[in-house]
Subunit: 216 residues, 2 copies
């Protein structure tokens, strides 16, 4: 929890420029994201975030107010990034099949660029915070809608089999990647051959999935 006595004017004192403030905000968000992902938001203190970011606790408090606001800012940053990157995979005039591949690639890239995103997502699924509906679900729903529409268009255009429910296709598709990333740290390494890395798994899984979906 955040300390009670926040020293007013600290931000001006420590961070004179607007640009410096933006840099420090980003530094705090990054450190907080790492800690929230690693330990879960209930087990992270302002002290932990200050220690990792190297920013004075009073400055963190003044920039973000409460820990819940900071946690919400972390979620908003990561999940709007997710919606943006995944959304880009469905933009443009490519065929539905190519867009499914682009979405899979985006998933893999996001895992590398934004490793805390998925961990925070799984934690939110197990223990939803007050930000779940307004941030997590809102963005997940947006991406799911784009993916559903893409599968529906593929079925309509006779590329994918009829009888496949687009929403089920989306859930299967993200499921086989989500579980891989959730399990990766702890078990995937001991269950998959060493030769199978992220790209290889995504490539092989995508092949079976698309094979099952494509019209002969």
């Amino acid at each position: 929890m955040f300390e009670a006595g926040v020293v007013a004017g600290n931000v001006r004192k420590y961070l004179p420029g607007v640009r410096m403030q933006a840099i420090v905000r980003e530094l705090i968000i990054e450190s907080a994201a790492q800690l929230f992902a690693e330990k879960g938001c209930a087990r992270v203190s302002l002290h932990d975030i200050a220690a990792l970011s190297g920013v004075e606790p009073a400055v963190i408090s003044e920039l973000f107010g409460s820990e819940s606001v900071l946690y919400g800012t972390v979620l908003e940053t990561l999940f709007s990034h997710y919606a943006q990157v995944a959304g880009a995979a469905f933009a443009g005039g490519d065929k539905p099949l190519a867009k499914v591949g682009a979405f899979a690639q985006a998933f893999c890239n996001l895992h590398k660029q934004s490793p805390y995103l998925f961990t925070l997502f799984y934690r939110e699924l197990l223990d939803p915070s007050i930000h779940f509906e307004s941030i997590v679900l809102k963005n997940i729903r947006h991406v799911a809608y784009l993916s559903d529409s893409n599968f529906a268009r593929g079925i309509q255009k006779d590329a994918f089999r009829r009888g496949v429910n687009p929403a089920v296709a989306t859930m299967m598709f993200v499921g086989m990647f989500h579980y891989y990333f959730l399990a990766k740290e702890q078990i995937a390494g001991s269950l998959l051959p060493e030769s199978v890395d992220d790209e290889e798994y995504i490539d092989l899984a995508l092949k079976v999935f698309l094979n099952g979906l494509l019209k002969e």
Copy 2:
């Protein structure tokens, strides 16, 4: 955490018969499983378990020693049950294809009969306890081995496509179900049509998956 002063002889005092002891043990394990799943093992106290099970804290302490032992007993009970039920799907002389279907059905049944199993599994993946390797991973590995062997046999018998890595097939397969169950409470309801229940999802997902795997 468990209370320090455990009153010796409580079990004999409260639970005179061996059969009664077994019933009380089961009652405690059931209540503890529910609480560990709902709140995560770090946030469950002996008091919570006593309140839910209706068993005196001193009796719980005497029967299980420490909370970590009780947590380990809960995991062992649920995960050995998982290995047994999933293992049964791969037993017998059925064809590999039929066994994949039986495994999917077992997953669905387990979710209904043992709702805390999967939640505890996801919690262990995010925050592994000291029991992770010896209980969780041991049983998961056993089931994965059976599934891998079944896919390998299907490929060998020319039922499944060559070029599909059996371990990748297992991970995709469990992934599309694990994510559905993980997401179910919080989001699957808002992402899938109302008509799609557990059986329907498993049935549809299995069709696409097997379609992708089967040799034409």
